[in-house]
Symmetry: C2
Subunit: 290 residues, 2 copies
């Protein structure tokens, strides 16, 4: 059996009891370690499980899945995924390959940022499609997120923006020389995300489009959702550009509010506001009953 097991969002005790039982009995335990991270190291998981954990990076999952699936027709293999196994990243490929090898599959769900973001006080019913924000470079500033946000905002919905992480990335030089030397991991902050959003809005405006959001659009920054040091900061996009210090370390996400925001949602998120008076004023001006 191939078990896809969600680890939740924060530390080693966020696994479910059901998931932990499987991990302790499985023949091999893999940890998917390139699309998200827990807030604790692999060694802590290994001590807690009493098991060796094999890190499965993108190369292994995409090009050496036969190793992962080896003998899973008869043995139990645990494939651990931060969050929910079918949350932000689906491992559809791995499952399709397992199916073609007649390997039975069981999923053990867990919290995903895509539902845990409800801890901001925003109603999940009021969210549109989720988007991802990648680290811009000087020459690469993909704007597809902007069109998706426009679609959500046109119908008044919130947008969850998931922020890029770079784990086990090679520099161009090291890649060109075939050296398996990796850069230190990087995690996008809410401030970087808000800045990139405003940058694209400026570019779109200069092109005669734009107007999807602006510096005074309301948003919530979320850090380490579900963990003991969980932290929310609400304010305008402009304010969130400066909120990194208050939010602290990774992982972070951002929610851009839609105009359908309910008064109860605003009340709830006022608690975290950089500037409560401004929060209320902008809500009344741009959102309330619009």
């Amino acid at each position: 059996m191939l078990y896809l097991i969600g680890l939740g969002l924060s530390d080693e005790t966020d696994i479910t009891v059901k998931g932990l039982d499987v991990v302790r009995k499985a023949s091999r335990v893999y940890l998917e370690a390139y699309t998200s991270i827990l807030l604790v190291d692999k060694s802590i998981l290994e001590t807690y499980y009493g098991r060796d954990v094999i890190l499965a990076d993108r190369e292994m999952v995409e090009f050496a899945s036969e190793d992962i699936l080896d003998n899973a027709q008869t043995e139990d293999v645990a494939f651990l995924v931060v969050g929910d196994p079918f949350g932000a990243t689906t491992h559809t490929d791995l499952v399709l390959r397992a199916r073609s090898l007649k390997i039975p599959i069981q999923t053990i769900p867990n919290a995903s940022i895509m539902s845990a973001i409800g801890a901001t006080g925003l109603q999940l019913y009021n969210f549109g499609q989720t988007v991802s924000m990648v680290f811009f470079t000087k020459t690469w500033k993909p704007t597809s997120f902007y069109d998706r946000i426009k679609e959500n905002r046109d119908i008044g919905l919130h947008t969850l923006v998931l922020l890029d992480i770079k784990v086990k990335e090679q520099s161009y030089e090291n890649m060109a020389r075939g050296r398996k030397i990796y850069e230190p991991p990087r995690y996008m902050t809410v401030g970087q995300c808000a800045q990139q959003m405003l940058e694209i809005e400026e570019i779109k405006k200069a092109e005669g489009a734009g107007g999807v959001y602006d510096e005074e659009s309301l948003a919530i920054g979320a850090a380490r959702v579900g963990g003991k040091t969980e932290k929310f900061v609400s304010g305008t996009l402009k304010q969130l550009c400066e909120a990194d210090e208050e939010l602290g370390g990774p992982l972070q996400s951002l929610v851009l509010l839609g105009r359908r925001t309910h008064e109860l949602e605003i009340d709830y998120a006022r608690e975290f506001a950089v500037d409560r008076e401004g929060w209320d004023r902008i809500w009344k001006r741009d959102y309330d009953a619009k």
Copy 2:
């Protein structure tokens, strides 16, 4: 401390290790029992936790929250919610009241149907807003879900439809006579949902609107997601009207596909199709590259 603890979707072992530790130590343990259900009885939870569990119905949470929050400034109170505490139902009111009483609050997230539905193989990025379907009566057929589905379909997105449950409902007669006698619980099936969706499409069409979906629109029925008896059936809305026997017992949900459906999603869901040939044919005709 008030702990809001997600129980996950299926049985007593879906609680996280962190959540279980809190339950075992808390002064009082409440179970929110009116917006969703686990697939096991309260007595099984009590045995597993080694604790008494107090059922918190809607009346208690809305009108007697002071009992729940009593002394939570200094004692630990566990409030258990099926799924994620901030998933489909947010307990914003309870948290706002706790805040006003200076009670510290901690959330322990868990799987929610709103992310676990990814087990259908559909990408969560391709979902628009989630809608709810209530049991129609002869005189009450609310159609707000239809407008929301239209918004999602206009931009090509999938829609998760959450199905009504009726727990601890009184008949009109018993309510009028003030008798606290409750009807047996009812859980909407995928078949009932698909029928109600098609009924409203007919009504809208007769009014000169309509055309949001039809009998041949592709959808996936999901039952007991995350449980050992998890079951998916994919097909047209017409086919899903007849799929209740195959899907089995509650809880169930339905996903209506959007035209942005990716080939990998279709491949994944073909596995569950009532009629694989028809599934592929309709996908090619109405969805592929549309």
